[in-house]
């Protein structure tokens, strides 16, 4: 609301709403959703098509580029989409500005940290550091 008074016409046209930004966020959320439509379906189909889910079977699957590359994409895009989605939660339900900044920052750290951990695990599997 305060933005309505101070935003330049250019800022308004650029899709800047009450959260002061968001056009880019809105579009990114949709583009990543289309990617996850494919990658999520790929994950479920792959898990169903594997002969079993024994550790060695899964390792062989994730060592091949056909397994490792989509899984890496899934991790990066899923964590990004989750971050974008959860940010909407925070923006909608955490009203006080200081708290919103704190929770948003925590959310960002969790998403980047979690995603990096998942990528590290995938790399360890794919490049053979597994006992």
């Amino acid at each position: 609301m305060s933005l309505g008074d101070s935003a330049s016409p250019l800022g308004k046209v650029g899709g800047l709403g009450s959260a002061r930004e968001g056009g880019e966020h809105w579009l990114t959320e949709r583009v990543t959703s289309i990617a996850l439509l494919l990658l999520g379906s790929w994950l479920i189909a792959s898990l169903l098509l594997l002969p079993d889910l024994k550790q060695q079977t899964v390792i062989e699957w994730l060592r091949a580029p056909s397994g490792a590359v989509p899984m890496a994409l899934l991790i990066v895009i899923a964590f990004k989409h989750a971050l974008d989605g959860m940010k909407v939660f925070v923006d909608d339900y955490v009203h006080e500005e200081g708290n919103r900044f704190a929770v948003s920052t925590l959310l960002l750290f969790l998403a980047v940290g979690g995603g990096t951990l998942a990528l590290y695990a995938l790399a360890a599997i794919a490049f053979g550091g597994v006992a």
């Binding site: 959703s33 479920i44 550790q55 989750a82 989605g85 998942a118 695990a121 360890a124 006992a131």
Partner: protein, 131 residues
């Protein structure tokens, strides 16, 4: 912008008449949060368990195949399908289509039916038919 408690609020959940579109909208948020937190935590945990070796993977498998683990996984599978179908509905609506009352309601009901059918089919296959 100082948020004070005396500012008027727009009508919220308590005032609207329930319908499938409202339920689906709320479920889109709830399932999105469940997938962001539970889904990505389990995916990361699973990858870490594979990377860490037999003992860790055995520990993961034991928890995942425990009845409570299976219930959680079924819940996440349903969340995935509900969020996916509802997401497709949102993409259609982003294009400006599907806002007519009848079509909108039908589409909303279809996401609910579809997610239950897909979840049931997947888990019947996993639990009963998979060799």
């Amino acid at each position: 912008m100082a948020a004070t408690n005396s500012r008027p609020l727009s009508p919220h959940l308590t005032i609207w008449r329930w319908g499938p579109h409202m339920l689906v909208s709320i479920l889109h948020r709830v399932t999105g949060a469940a997938l962001s937190i539970g889904g990505l935590a389990i995916l990361t945990w699973w990858l870490m368990a594979i990377a860490q070796g037999q003992e860790a993977y055995g520990h993961f498998t034991k928890i995942a195949t425990h009845p409570i683990g299976v219930i959680v996984l079924i819940g996440l599978t349903w969340s995935f399908f509900q969020h996916l179908l509802s997401g497709i509905r949102h993409l259609v609506m982003d294009s400006g289509a599907g806002f007519e009352l009848g079509i909108n309601k039908t589409f909303a009901v279809l996401t609910l039916v579809g997610s239950v059918v897909l979840t049931a089919a997947l888990w019947i296959y996993v639990l009963e038919m998979r060799p």
